[in-house]
Each structure stands twice: as C-alpha cells, then as structure tokens.
C-alpha cells in the first residue's frame, strides 16, 4: 500500500510538473506576443503626403538598392492609357517600348485590361525608389503611386540615412503595429 501511494505521488508529481512547464511555456509565448503588441516599437516610414519626390531615397539609403520602393494604391488609380507615372512627358507613343517609359529600370509592368483601361504593377525587385513615377503620377494623375519603406528590407537604422537628408521631413518614426502609410487607408486628415 505504501509503495502504491509513493508511486502514485511520483506520477502525480511528474504530471503536475509537465502541466506547469506547459503553462509556463504558453504564458511566456503569450507574454512575448503581448509585449510585441503593446511595446512601443517604432520603425521608419514615409508620409506620402509630405514626400516631394526629390529622388534621394534611391541614393541615400544604406541598402543597395534602396529599401524604399514604389507602392500602388489601386483604388485611387485611374487606370489611364496615358499614365503620367509610366510614360515620359510627351512620349512618342503610348506603348511599352523602352524609349517611352519613365522608369529607369522598367520596374512598372503595364497590362491592358479592356478599353480604355490599363493596370500598372510595380516589380519590387526592380524598383530602386527613385520616385520618378511618383512625381509623374502626382503631377498628372491621382497620386496612386507613392513611396514606402519596405520593412523586410529596411534595417531600421537608429539614424535613418534618408531621413537625415529628406528635404520635406517626410520620413518619420511610426509605431511598428502601423508600419505602412498607404494612400487610401491613410489620409492627411486622419493624421492631423
């Protein structure tokens, strides 16, 4: 009887220990996840309404090519045949021939949808963040093309090399939980 009771106690002890370990592990994971959410971590991001498309994002970032890329807010796009972000001003033809394209690395793919609409897709691997397309889209279109810092490329330097030279102070620290300022989702009014 005494042996049985001892053996039972040992089993219970091991079971309790395992339960406790599991609870501790779950608690740690939850705690870590919670701390990730509530902790005030900041990352760098570009305010698209402040950006003046000066071109420095392409040259000043410590990454080569830059961690700044063009992103496209499709719900703002006019899907125009003559896209100010895709074509050079006064392009000879509205065609995909290199001489007509504004992008120096052909990072924008143009696809015909139906008359008179065309879709413009950014190839992030080719984009160098020069903002030429953003400037064209802002000046002549709806401003659907804009620059953003891509966080899986960005090193999140303590002192962002681009922010240091940005002439319009468009690069600012934002909370990690809202790390992108995409036009359409984010508006100037919301910010102010």
């Amino acid at each position: 009887m005494e042996d049985n009771s001892r053996s039972k106690n040992r089993r219970e002890f091991i079971q309790s220990g395992m339960r406790l370990s599991l609870a501790l592990a779950l608690g740690s994971v939850s705690g870590l996840a919670l701390s990730k959410v509530v902790k005030d971590e900041y990352v760098w991001q570009i305010d698209p309404f402040e950006c003046t498309q000066c071109g420095r994002c392409a040259t000043e970032c410590v990454m080569t090519p830059s961690a700044v890329k063009c992103v496209h807010a499709y719900d703002l796009c006019g899907y125009c045949d003559l896209c100010g972000g895709y074509f050079k001003p006064d392009a000879n033809q509205l065609s995909t021939a290199a001489e007509n394209q504004l992008c120096p690395t052909a990072a924008i793919e143009r696809r015909f949808i139906e008359e008179p609409y065309f879709e413009y897709i950014i190839n992030e691997d080719l984009c160098i963040g020069c903002a030429k397309c953003v400037e064209g889209c802002t000046a002549f279109g709806n401003g659907s093309l804009h620059l953003q810092i891509i966080h899986d490329i960005c090193l999140n330097c303590n002192e962002c090399a681009i922010a240091r030279v940005c002439p319009s102070n468009a690069i600012k620290r934002v909370k990690a939980e809202n790390s992108y300022l995409i036009k359409g989702d984010f508006s100037k009014e919301q910010e102010s």
């Binding site: 125009c80 045949d81 003559l82 001003p89 995909t96 143009r110 008359e115 008179p116 400037e135 002549f140």
Partner: protein, 474 residues
Amino acid sequence: MESSQFIRIISVSLVILFLVFLVWWLQTDPTAGLDVSMEGADNRGAGVEAQEVEIGEYFKEFSTGYTELSEIWPRFRGLDFDNISKSPTKLIDDFGSTGPKILWTKDLGEGHSGAAIYKGLVYILDYDEEKRADLLRCYSLIDGKEMWVRGYGLNVKRNHGMSRTIPAITDDYILTMGPMCHVMCLDRETGELIWGLDVAGEYESEVPLWYTGQCPLIDGDQAIIASGGKSLMVAIDCETGEKVWETPNPEGWKMSHSSVIPFTFGGRKMYVYSAIGALAGVAADGDDAGKILWHTPVWNHSVVAPSPVCMPDGKIFMTAGYGAGAMMAQLSENNGQFSVEVLSKYPPRDGLACEQQTPLFWNGHLFGIVPKDGGPNRNQLVCVHPDDPQKMVWTSGTENRFGLGPYFMADGKLFILKDDGTLFIARPSTERYIELDQVKVIEDGHDAWAPFAIANGYLIMRDSKTLVCIDLNV
C-alpha cells in the same frame, strides 16, 4: 631549370591566359540577362468597335413655361471668347454671413461639361449613366426646372469623367459635341434635331484620350469643328448640315481637347486651333476659306486642353499640361501672307503655364493657374505680361493655391473655383492678388473643373457630379 627557360614558360602562360581572357571578354554579353522593353508588351487591344449611334433619337419634354431673361453666355469662354462677362449687372463682393445664395442644384453624370445660357435657359450636355446616353439638358435658369432633353444612346465608360464640352447657342441653333465626337445640331427653341455628325466615324479621327473636350463653335450660320483625321477642320451649314469647306490635313494632325478660337488679324478672319501636331490658323472667310494660312509644328504635344489666347498685337499664347509648359508666338502679316515666329517656349516651372483652363487676357496681362508640375509656383494664380510670360508680375503666394478649376471675370471681379467646390472672389489687379471672399459651395466637392457660365447675375458652376446655380446679384 634555367631561369631563362622559366621566364619563357611564364611569359607564354601569361600570353595564353591573356588570350583566353580576351576571347572570354569579347564573347561575354553583360546585357544577356536583361529583357528588352519592346512595344506591345501590354497586349493592348485593337481598340473599340464603332458604335451604331442614332444622333438625336431621344427627346422628352417636361415643361414649356419659363422666365425669359435678357442676357446670354452662349458658348465656351462667353460671347467674346475671352471669359470676361461684359454685363452691367452688379454682383456681390462677398458671400456675407449667410453664405452663397444657392438657387438650385442638379445631380449629373460624372463629368466636366459646362453650361451655356441663353435668355433664361441653361443648356448642358450630360452623360446619363443610367440610360447610357448623351443628353442635352435644358433647364430654366431662375428655378432649375427641367424643360426638355434631347440625346442618343451611347456606351461611354468612366474615364476621369465622361462629359467634357460646352454647347454653342445662337438664336436659331444649338450645337453640341459629345465625348465620342458625336455632333448634334438642334433648333434652339424647340430642341428639334436638324442634323447629326459622327466626326470620328466620318473623318477617321481619333477620339482624344479621356474623350474630347473640344467645345463646338457656331460662327454666323456655320458650325466649325476641328475634326482631325482626314480633314483638319470642317465648316458645316447649320441649316442644311451640308459641308461648306474642309481643311486638308496632309500631316495627319489629330484632334485635341482644345477648342477653335476665331481671331481677326492683318485684315483676315481666321480660326486658330491647337491640334496634336501643330498650332495653325485656318482662313475663316473669302475664296480660300478653310485654307491653312499659317502653322507652327513647334507646338506639338500629346495632350492639349487649353485653347489659344489670341491678343490684338498678333501674339498667340499656348499652354498645356503633362509637362508641355507654354509657348508665346508672334503672328505677322505681309501682303496677305502670314508667318508665325516662336518668341519663347518653356517648361511649366519656368513661367505661366496651365493644364486645363485657358488663361485670361485682361488689362494687357495674362492670368492663369500654374499646374502641379510648375515648381514653387504650382497651383498658384499668377499674372504675367505677354512680353515676358516667364517673368511673374505677381503670384497668389504659397498660402493661396488652387487646382484645375475654372476662373473668369464678371462685374470687375475675378471668380475662381477650386477642385473641391470652393468659390473665391478676388479683385483683378496687375499688381497683386487681392482676395475678397471664399466659400465652400459644394460639400465634398470633387474635380470641379468645368468652366463657369453667368447671365443676369446667375452663376452656373459644377463639380464632377453636381450642377449648381448661385444668385450673385447684389
């Protein structure tokens, strides 16, 4: 091994290595991994098939009674093509504490077409998105009562709006041009169809991007249309619909959004038109009516919306958006022969330039709103002297920026409409920008780009979807 033999072996090896490297270097194409961007990668379609359109097929009358008034704003840029009302009617300086006196509003199809006013009636070419039809709507100016509509079924897809033009009205006729270049000539009083013309079909012309913005012209009893395609310009008898003359177009200049502006200089009346390809002057009368009197291919841009500003001394100012900037040209006449000299041509950041609206010429100066690619002066109202359109006489300043909306003068006041439906009153001056008042007329206004029309103190303005009539009478 002797040292000389060793040196020889090393030398031969180096030469062989060099030759191998040279062959490799010559054979290697560093661009082999790159794709060449060629035409056609977007799989552009073959274009839309022409639609069968029965111009003027639809008519509905709603009312016959209206208050007849005395004044008119019969076409694009008004009676004198200068966008300046000469009416003696006194207008308000400010909107007061009660705000603008809005008489009536109407919902319209998305677009930028403007109104013409004729003795108490307002005419506007709308695109009805439900009926899928171009409809000329006639309203009573005083109360906005809809009198009748005349139009035709047509599929037009939304492309930064659909309607864009202003009808031309005379005592006898109404002339409209729809987004896909369908011209409709009606009896003004009854709205009866007189004739119709499918310009793109008949002249094999290209409908401009985002649909045509050309406002048709009635000169005397002739309809003047810049067709592009097989002919550059055509004159049509309003009563019969027969062609009076056609201007040959050997260079294949295309239709733009710009409108034809009549101009008399050097003893000749001519029509000045900025086509895609050149700026040209076409004889308006005489034995050689329809002949190109002069042209300059220096002004050749893919999108041109503003119309030529013709000044009494023969200067012609042209401007356009999308990076085009502006050009000042000097027209000269010698024994009936015309020549044109380009005085200056510059990008938008270097002087007065406009994207959509045609600048005003008032008191010997030009006024316009600089486009978004105009550098530090972007979106500012600026004033220049025609002798040097690159030197700003004044700008409205960074705190007073506008958009692509219209501006015009009436009762010695300058009215400016911002894209969001805010209406400004300013005092015209060649010294500085003097704002008198401003008010938001259209809540949540968007793309308020259509030119103004005014008669008897009643201002007609719109944003992309709402037409508004404001009583500006003192």
